[in-house]
Assembly symmetry: C2
Homo-oligomer: 202 residues x 2
Amino acid sequence: MDELLPEPEPLRALIEALRHLPGVGARSARRMAYHLLQHDPAGADLLSRALAGAVHGLRHCARCNGFTEDEVCATCRNPKRDEAVLCVVETPADQNMIESSHGYRGLYYVLMGRLAPLEGVGPGDLQFDRLLARACDGVVREVILATNFTAEGETTAHYLSELLRARGLAVTRLARGVPAGSELEYVDAGTIAWALMERRST
Amino acid sequence: MDELLPEPEPLRALIEALRHLPGVGARSARRMAYHLLQHDPAGADLLSRALAGAVHGLRHCARCNGFTEDEVCATCRNPKRDEAVLCVVETPADQNMIESSHGYRGLYYVLMGRLAPLEGVGPGDLQFDRLLARACDGVVREVILATNFTAEGETTAHYLSELLRARGLAVTRLARGVPAGSELEYVDAGTIAWALMERRST
């Protein structure tokens, strides 16, 4: 669309602003703007207030680095959780995934990213010193590294593992192997190779 | 994710509000919220203000029904455009598409939708009376129906054509045929059939 009709400024500004959403390009931003204005102005109003509320009302938990309204988040304050185990994840979405497995009752630390040298994300950007201070509080005995099993996630786990082990903590990594419910025929060869290497006696 | 960790209210509200965007489900809404909060809080702030600005600053042009800040939009006020021709489109995106063809210098009317009986969208919802009043201003001589060539678009064009012709206006429809630059081998049979029916002498 090389030559557009003159567009009112608030509409142009909205289309431009919608492009800040991840995965939204010029065309979807325009479609979203038209949709909200024509069919859901109440939703647009709600979204406007929710964005302002979240940006100004949320901060990082002083203990786990997750999003919270308070100094320390509800999960970190929960007395029923095991304070001796700390699970390190990349994002709040990963944290929710682990929680939904019902297999973990310890505490979390959210990196809010991972080491990605190619994108220029180094240890300083992720504030590893905060994680180290948290893990070395004298209560934590074991750190479970639950970063993704991607190149960046593995790099992050490796790097953190060295730092944490040097401080006398037990460091573990999520097990690698065949996913629950899979048929071997359809599992990729890399996973099978891992599962063979890390086989265990029954 | 059946059991989620306790989530701060502003975050929950933001995820919920992002689902008002078309094509955004629970998972993308969560991803968008985390992205904005972690990596682009300034963008979130900008989007919040742009949404409020657009919802409260825009209204429908009294002449063409498009979005505008003023009573009548800049396109309708442009003295260089031919007031005797009115092109009826479904959306502002369609209007921009026609404009970018550089083949039209008349005015527009934006329906902001199309007849869709199966979705319960009837002539009343689209305020056809406003279009009729606009087209019967005594200056408009020809109405070009440029609704989409879908079932709903064709229905809308057919319905409007009857109404407008009954009021003594010349009513035309965009030509149907083989798209520019196509090889016949790759054009669908329906399009070829149309192009044959509507063949013209050279």
